[in-house]
């Protein structure tokens, strides 16, 4: 187990990020998987996906957001108000969902009451369309070009095609390595725990790429050389649903006797499509890659694409059941989980649908009881998992 990956997955305040800053580096926070990180890397900056972990109170989040809103953006606002994101030079808020895009206003307004809560240099809103093709793709591409222009103007950097190609190439190495880790998780018996793998996946969002890639490669080599598989697990499970960087959820599932063999959640591995093209127009390539996967139910009308992708991964990982979680008031995943439940059960994939709060705010006792019951149910024999037709 890599202590660097583990620490990165469990804390907001990270040593590698501090060191990056001490060397004069610029750190930019972002909030959604539809933001192409390559752009920041190409500018020599460090993009960090913002997290609300370890939030114990929502007194700040609740002061600006209304009561009928998911606890994830509230937790981010809480952390911002508490000063946990002081290391940021800038931030990009994007239209992930209604509550997330309103983080733009809530954060700005909160900073009028809490001086210094807003990143000092730059606070940017990125439009992301809700469909992957045609005019929407053109629009998204134009937004990415605007984002590049804004970065260049604000920070006096020059983002060239060459620097973008280099950044794409490096992120493709990360994607390839993560693909390898995902393949290792498919092995039966399992050779890597879900907790360990999920730590590695989360850490990707917050560590400088060179450090991350080194640690990830080391982890993969170490897993490959393991003499003993993961011992004593009862069933192989897969996780889908709302944004999740909640290691405790995975730990809880594994403590109940399962091994988590894959997930399609934000912070996890969602897009297993081919790599970003590192030739031609890099902005066009990035736009196509980030928008085309339709990996999130925010891309309305593309559920069939997601069903094929998710059921394919479930089959590949040899998962014997699926835990579909959504944060309360996350209507997008809440509803999609309903469709998935229907369609996965048709494919003889047993499912457990849970609604919970974000991260540390979850009531763990109730959750554990339901996971235990699901595992007991799974211990009845089931036919092999099928795959949805494409």
């Amino acid at each position: 187990m890599s202590s660097i990956l583990s620490q990165a997955a469990r804390s907001i305040d990270l040593d590698p990020v501090r060191k990056f800053k001490e060397k004069g580096g610029t750190v930019i926070g972002y909030t959604c998987s539809f933001v192409p990180v390559e752009i920041f890397h190409a500018a020599g900056m460090l993009p960090i996906r913002l997290r609300g972990i370890n939030t114990e109170s929502l007194n700040i989040g609740d002061a600006y957001y209304g009561p009928f809103v998911c606890t994830f953006p509230k937790a981010l606002l809480q952390q911002a108000g508490q000063g946990s994101f002081k290391f940021l030079d800038g931030a990009v808020i994007s239209a992930g969902c209604d509550a997330m895009r309103r983080l733009d206003e809530c954060w700005r307004k909160m900073s009028e009451d809490v001086p210094g809560a807003l990143p000092p240099s730059w606070f940017y809103y990125l439009d992301v369309p809700h469909k992957p093709q045609g005019v929407a793709l053109e629009w998204y591409q134009s937004r990415i070009r605007k984002l590049i222009q804004a970065l260049e103007e604000k920070f006096g950097v020059h983002i060239t095609d060459e620097s973008l190609h280099l950044a794409i190439s490096k992120q493709n190495k990360v994607r390839t390595a993560l693909g390898e880790l995902a393949e290792l998780r498919c092995l039966e018996p399992a050779v890597v725990s879900g907790t360990e793998a999920f730590e590695a996946l989360i850490a990707r969002n917050v560590l400088p790429t060179d450090i991350y890639l080194e640690e990830l490669d080391r982890l993969i080599e170490e897993v490959k050389s393991r003499a003993e598989p993961v011992s004593g697990y009862r069933k192989r499970l897969f996780i889908t649903g709302s944004i999740c960087d909640d290691l405790e959820l995975v730990e809880q599932i594994e403590a109940a006797g399962a091994v988590v063999v894959g997930e399609t959640v934000c912070y996890g591995l969602r897009n297993t499509s081919p790599l970003v093209s590192d030739t031609g127009d890099p902005v066009a390539a990035l736009s196509a890659f980030y928008l085309s996967g339709s990996v999130c139910p925010r891309m309305f009308g593309y559920y069939p694409t997601r069903l094929v992708a998710i059921s394919g991964r479930i089959k590949r990982t040899q998962a014997q059941g699926v835990i579909m979680q959504n944060i309360r008031f996350c209507d997008l995943h809440g509803s999609e989980n309903g469709l998935l439940e229907r369609d996965l059960e048709k494919l003889d994939v047993p499912t457990l649908r849970i609604e919970k709060e974000y991260g540390a705010l979850t009531e763990k006792g109730r959750l554990r009881m339901r996971i235990d019951a699901f595992l007991e149910q799974l211990e009845k024999s089931r036919p092999p998992v099928q795959e949805a037709e494409g």
Binding site: G66, D331, S335, G338
Partner: protein, 466 residues
């Protein structure tokens, strides 16, 4: 869901109800009085509506036509398009073989007609996997169409991408559940830049291609021109009503807002809708000439509902406002932003104009109208950005001399509940006492109307408005 509910088709129920109700236009006053005694359950609704005279009867005719078309659609070889209230239906009528069904309108009808509202249908949505926290305005009748208690849907076309996730999500869910083709117009967070207009126009053309492909016909250009010309007249009449609302006392009965926008969402471009507006103008002009309030009594205060109205049983909120002598100055649902409206904002690109010179200008017009429908225009971008929620609300409050602002919505509205506290604070800073209603406009189980009324009463008293 109770099996009995599936036995009686919802659209047929609506059609028959309105077909019977429209005949009230031929009744005497005495007959109506006897009728109201005989239908105590809906007399609280029928009484106030019938008291406004001929426009109410025309409205009932409009709704009878609308649901009549729906139940006859299949027999006539037409296709039924599930759509949303903020999608201007003109394009469907221009196709000739498409019949729209607007979920939110059905939800409002059940909410105001039945004490139990559309709870059964809402719960059916949850039963089949839809999130129970999703917006009740769609869930209300979506359950009917998902369960087979409504007409069979052929395709789904909406326009809330980028504006309201819960809305888009509901229609996307319905399309997947029913396995029907889906098209969603998408909106950037800004309204006025040329590149945004271009995006609206291109996206709308893709929508037309979708409708042509799945509706299996091409729309009638002459029919479209005719509909748009009629819309011009409708906008002028609506503008006249809006202009008269600036008077003190406000001569427009509050319930007119509900009738106008419901008719517009369902019957935009129809000659009968124009007739209803003309009848309304007559009523309001008469009130204005005689210095009468639309409430029929002294106006004590003027309230702008800066989101939506409340559709509790027997239109409780409309009734409460009138009884307390508070003029209803309209809600976000009431305003469509044609470029000749009295509330137009003098910033290029914020309003639409109807241009029927060519096919292209007509399609652009439709795209521009859609981009300025309620919600689509006002709550797409940051609430404090130019031409968005705060500026629109302040502008409307000023133009209509509002004394206070009231937010009413649904807990399913992730969009506005994510920034309503911010806008409320700003409205207060600008001198408008602002009340947030925590009820659900379409679901009385969240907070009873009686509780909502009690809190309204407290707000108006404590803030010295009454």
């Amino acid at each position: 869901m109770r099996p009995a509910l599936k036995e009686y088709p919802l659209d047929l129920l609506f059609a028959r109800t309105f077909q019977v109700a429209q005949k009230l236009g031929r009744s005497t006053e005495k007959e109506r009085a006897i009728l109201l005694q005989s239908v105590p359950y809906v007399s609280g609704l029928l009484g106030p509506i019938l008291s406004i005279g001929q426009p109410a009867i025309t409205f009932l005719e409009l709704m009878a036509d609308y649901y009549g078309n729906l139940i006859n659609a299949k027999k006539e070889g037409k296709k039924v398009v599930m759509t949303t209230f903020c999608f201007d239906p003109t394009i469907f009528y221009a196709f000739g073989n498409l019949v729209p069904v607007t979920l939110e309108v059905g939800t409002v009808i059940t909410s105001i007609l039945w004490k139990r509202g559309s709870f059964d249908f809402m719960d059916f949505c949850t039963e089949v996997g839809f999130s129970e926290t999703g917006c009740s305005s769609q869930r209300g009748t979506m359950g009917a169409y998902l369960s087979g208690a409504g007409v069979e849907i052929d395709l789904v076309a909406v326009n809330m991408g980028g504006v309201c996730d819960t809305n888009s999500n509901a229609y996307s869910f319905a399309a997947q559940y029913l396995n029907k083709p889906f098209y969603g117009l998408d909106y950037p967070s800004e309204l006025t830049p040329d590149e945004v207009t271009d995006y609206h126009h291109k996206d709308y053309r893709a929508l037309i291609r979708f409708l042509e492909e799945h509706g299996q016909c091409r729309f009638d250009i002459d029919r479209l021109r005719e509909l748009l010309e009629e819309k011009k007249i409708q906008d002028e009449l609506t503008n006249e009503l809006e202009e008269m609302q600036r008077l003190v006392p406000n001569p427009l009965p509050g319930i007119f807002h509900l009738l106008i926008y419901a008719a517009r969402y369902t019957n935009s471009g129809s000659k009968k809708f124009t007739r209803m507006l003309r009848e309304m103008v007559e009523v309001v002009r008469d009130n204005a000439t005689n210095g009468r309030s639309g409430m029929g009594q002294t106006e004590k205060c003027r309230a702008l509902l800066f989101y939506i109205d409340n559709f509790s049983f027997n239109v409780g909120m409309f009734d409460w406002l009138a009884r307390h002598q508070v003029s209803h100055m309209g809600s976000m649902l009431s305003r469509f932003f044609p470029d000749n409206a009295p509330y137009r904002r003098d910033v290029s690109g914020t309003c639409f104009s109807i241009d029927t010179r060519s096919l292209d200008t007509m399609i652009d017009t439709l795209a521009d109208i859609n981009a300025r429908m309620p919600m689509t225009r006002t709550i797409r971008g940051p609430y404090d950005a130019p031409n968005m929620w705060l500026e629109d609300s302040l502008s409307l409050a000023k133009i209509y001399k509002a004394d206070c602002c009231v937010y009413n919505g649904t807990p399913g509205c992730r969009n506005t509940w994510s920034n309503v506290k911010l806008i409320a604070r700003d409205l207060e800073k600008h001198g408008y006492p602002t009340h947030l209603v925590y009820a659900d406009a379409f679901d009385g189980r969240v907070e009873s109307w009686e509780a909502t009324a009690m809190r309204m009463e407290e707000f108006f008293k404590i803030r010295g408005l009454l």
